[in-house]
């Protein structure tokens, strides 16, 4: 479709402050019609604020928004929808126990009776499915759909509301590489039909792969807008951070020693009777980083929790865990016993598990180690000692602002993570469990955290890395194990694999064994099938 000259979206001098924090400073942005426009920036650069302004969640303090050349005041999301803007959020806004059809018409019903709306929506969905590869069973319940399909429903919702402009916030974070490729095909199809797409992401690879233009945000400002074909990942990364960054992790080849952690036939059935781990056999050696790749929700969380000493309540466990040859109890253990045994743990979700967000930074430095002798004096905790320890960690890990009295929630994601990593790494554990080490962490801090993990490895410690970021797994791991549906689908060496190969394993297909079928090999675990049903 021919594009005329008026841009689909034009922002002029958009500013927004939250108290003393200037989230957006005089943002200018021009998005031509019928293009895919990437917006990239570190966490806290102001991308989400800008998009929230565009979708009517916030009112800008200053500036002007033009949609299709006409100035518009977007006071709420209804106005945004009427102006043709559709938003696909990072966390889907779907009713889990409604069908696809019901979710699509929710809030866009034609009248008091549902039947005519449903009939109309059914026809419309069929048309959209044909045109854009957006096939979803209209009568399926959302909770039965895969994450990729749920995302399609979100896109369908926006299209059903006649969106011309589609904003997607970190859309690939939860997708397998294959699902992401499918999404990109859909997006290209939409663009070719004349829709305008804004893609917010922090993944440089995606920007290079799919966008026509890209704008870079840094500290609330739009620092550059360029044609994607005329830039490079390194140039974009430098623009994002404001200095040169290393996109690859510099590390010497591993020199693995004796096994530190040995798992044999580890099975776990949760309280609902669902088998989450179906017989895991793994060895991690001293001086080695084992990366576990996989789409979120395939048992990685359960594995970390069990090793960390806090399996889900009501779960049944089988198998063997040995740390440096010594058997560890499966259950009846707790986090403190595991720490004493020499396991450090950076949990997947630092805000829910790793930190008490209302506690100050120095109080968080003792978290999990509150009974360490150096933190206690008689019956009372030794606040002075804990503060001194926190002060040192803040300096060594360059936590900003360097204020131990600040509550954890007032630090940025990267600095929060530095506090957790400092706490766990500086104990010099024999085994470090680290889940999603750089989720929501800015590039500068990612580099730093990666270096620390490698340094721990070089000191002869074992690291179990769990991440849904394939790039991170590839860059950090000395060995990669792919988890799917509670099993280890296969092990690879980073040098001897590709993201396509890993992607197949992540989708439950071993390309070497059964190419392109959905056959899943039976569990290799020797244990018997647990007697089914919740207890």
């Amino acid at each position: 479709m021919a594009t005329d000259d008026t841009p689909a979206i034009e922002l002029r001098g958009i500013s927004k402050a939250f108290g003393p924090v200037q989230a957006n400073k005089g943002i200018d942005l021009m998005v031509p019609r019928g293009t895919i426009h990437g917006i990239i920036g570190e966490n806290g650069a102001g991308k989400s604020t800008l998009m929230s302004i565009l979708y009517g969640f916030y009112r800008p303090d200053a500036g002007e928004i033009l949609i299709g050349g006409r100035p518009i005041v977007i006071s709420d999301s209804q106005t945004a929808i009427r102006a043709g803007i559709g938003m696909v959020f990072q966390h889907f806004k779907l009713v889990q126990n409604f069908t696809v059809l019901e979710n699509v018409i929710l809030g866009a019903e034609d009248g008091r009776l549902l039947r005519p709306s449903l009939a109309r929506a059914r026809g419309e969905l069929q048309r959209l499915a044909r045109e854009y590869e957006l096939q979803v069973d209209p009568d399926a319940l959302i909770e039965e759909l895969s994450v990729g399909h749920q995302q399609r429903v979100e896109i369908l919702k926006a299209l059903y509301r006649q969106a011309d402009i589609l904003i997607l916030d970190e859309p690939t974070g939860v997708l397998t590489p294959a699902e992401a490729d499918h999404l990109f095909r859909i997006l290209r199809g939409l663009r070719d039909e004349g829709k305008t797409i804004i893609l917010i992401t922090h993944k440089l690879r995606e920007i290079m792969q799919i966008t026509d233009n890209v704008s870079v945000m840094r500290r609330g400002e739009m620092v550059a807008s360029v044609k994607t074909s005329e830039t490079s990942p390194a140039a974009l990364a430098e623009l994002m951070v404001g200095r040169k960054v290393l996109l690859r992790v510099d590390k010497a080849p591993a020199t693995p020693g004796a096994p530190v952690l040995e798992l044999r036939g580890l099975r776990m059935v949760d309280a609902e009777g669902v088998e989450r781990l179906r017989g895991i056999d793994l060895d991690i050696r001293a001086g080695e980083i084992l990366g576990i790749a996989g789409v979120a929700g395939n048992g990685q969380t359960q594995l970390l929790e069990i090793l960390g000493g806090y399996p889900e309540a009501g779960a049944r466990l089988e198998g063997e865990i040995r740390l440096k040859g010594q058997p560890l109890p499966l259950s009846g253990s707790d986090g403190r016993a595991r720490r004493r045994a020499g396991i450090g743990h950076v949990p997947e979700d630092r805000q829910v598990e790793g930190l008490i967000m209302d506690f100050s930074a120095w109080e968080n430095v003792a978290f999990g180690y509150q009974d360490a002798p150096e933190f206690n004096r008689g019956p009372l905790m030794d606040h002075a000692a804990i503060r001194a320890d926190a002060q040192g960690k803040i300096e060594r890990f360059d936590v900003r602002p360097p204020n131990p009295d600040l509550a954890a929630k007032n630090f940025s994601g990267g600095n929060q993570q530095k506090i957790v990593v400092a706490r766990e790494v500086e104990r010099n554990p024999d085994l470090l469990l680290i889940g999603q080490p750089t989720r929501g962490v800015d590039i500068g801090a990612i580099e730093f955290i990666h270096k620390r993990i490698v340094a721990l490895r070089d000191a002869g410690k074992a690291v179990l890395l769990v991440s849904v970021e394939l790039d991170e797994i590839m860059a950090l791991s000395d060995r990669i194990a792919v988890m799917f549906d509670g099993r280890i689908m296969g092990e690879r060496l980073p040098k001897a694999t590709t993201s396509g190969d890993l992607g197949c394993l992540m989708a439950g297909v071993d390309p070497a064994v059964v190419p392109a079928t959905e056959a899943i090999p039976p569990a290799q675990a020797p244990g018997t099938e647990p007697g089914g049903g919740a207890v």
Binding site: G19, G335, R338
Partner: protein, 363 residues
């Protein structure tokens, strides 16, 4: 996301809330045809104008300190203990059994024993809901409310069938022996040659309450158990990650909470009534919720708000005595204070944050 300076958060916000509650109470008083200025005068005069008034105000405040601290400790563990009423009643039973079972030679011996009895029974009464919450997930709000009724019924039974002296028609225990009577503040003052608060119930328990404030502060902010209680109260998944047992914290926090509520009996049963009567708690367990809310779940705040509620209680009694304003008006004022300091906190906080953000920019 405006931030308030600490003093504004801790002092100014509750103060404005209380003033708002008072302003609306004034309107209510106007509406029933009385003068709010007169009413305030009667209250201040009656509660704070004489050592006699103070003697009662401090007595009530002592009760509220214990029940307020009880709510606070549970709150920091993320538990809402509304069973203070029943726990305090059971504390009364515990103290009574201890005092009547042995011929105590001196109050100084009877006091620690009675404290153990009172705290023990209160703690025990909180243990069952705590256990049900920790092990079975039965919500502690529901179970502690139910336990208030069970405590009331149990006390009724004990007083009528077990503790009532032979021949008495009054559902109350025997009078405590004179040797176990606690020194009143008036008597203690007299020992120093000061005439203060004659014939008022305020007694030595006030100092126990003050000590409890300090100890609870130490517990929550200086001990490892307090650290774990606070961590658990803020985030249960994080507590699990850190190796803090939810069962242990739930049970311990509720035991301490119930024990504090039970300790109130030392003031009202042993110190004032000097026997166990029906409904001796008189709602202090519930007022503890308001006291803790208004005191921002900090012992110092609880001390101040307990004094305020002591003033309201005593002043309210005076109002009923000297004006046509019914005693129930105090309940209205209390309700308004709870409404403004608890439920409508943001109504005051937001504008204040705005004011501070503005004045901050000008600087």
């Amino acid at each position: 996301m405006g931030r308030l300076p600490r003093w504004a958060d801790v002092i100014l916000t509750p103060l404005i809330s209380v003033l708002l509650a008072f302003a609306i109470s004034a309107l209510v008083i106007l509406a029933i045809g009385e003068s709010p200025v007169e009413a305030l005068k009667v209250m201040v005069e009656g509660a704070l104008g004489s050592s006699y008034g103070w003697g009662f105000t401090l007595y009530y405040a002592t009760n509220f300190i214990f029940t307020g601290l009880a709510v606070m400790v549970a709150y920091h563990a993320g538990l809402f203990n509304i069973g203070g009423e029943g726990q305090a009643a059971m504390g009364g039973l515990g103290a009574t059994l201890v005092i009547l079972s042995l011929p105590w030679p001196h109050w100084a011996l009877a006091l620690p024993a009675a404290m153990i009895g009172a705290a023990g029974f209160g703690a025990l009464w909180a243990l069952i809901p705590a256990w049900l919450q920790a092990r079975r997930g039965s919500h502690v709000v529901i179970t502690t409310i139910m336990f208030n009724f069970i405590a009331a019924a149990l006390l009724n039974y004990m007083l009528v069938n077990v503790l009532r002296p032979v021949g008495s028609m009054d559902p109350a225990s025997a009078n405590f022996p004179a040797a176990t009577h606690l020194p009143k503040l008036s008597e203690m003052a007299l020992a120093f040659g000061i005439t203060w608060g004659k014939n008022t119930p305020a007694n030595i328990t006030l100092f126990i309450a003050l000590a409890a404030c300090v100890l609870v502060w130490l517990l929550i902010w200086r001990t490892r158990l307090g650290y774990e209680i606070r961590a658990f109260g803020k985030s249960e998944p994080a507590a699990l990650y850190a190796g803090i047992s939810p069962v242990r914290i739930t049970v311990l926090a509720m035991l301490i909470s119930g024990g504090l509520a039970g300790l109130m009996a030392v003031n009202n049963v042993m110190g004032e009534a000097e026997r166990l009567v029906l409904n001796s708690v008189e709602g202090a367990g519930f007022i503890g919720i308001a006291v803790a809310l208004m005191g921002r779940n900090h012992p110092f705040g609880i001390l101040l708000s307990a004094l305020l509620f002591g003033f309201l209680y005593q002043g309210g009694g005076e109002l009923a005595l000297w004006t046509t304003i019914p005693r129930e008006l105090i309940v209205v004022i209390q309700a308004l204070v709870i409404l403004f300091t608890g439920a409508l906190d943001n109504m005051v906080r937001r504008p204040l944050e705005w004011v501070f953000a503005r004045s901050g920019k000008r600087d």
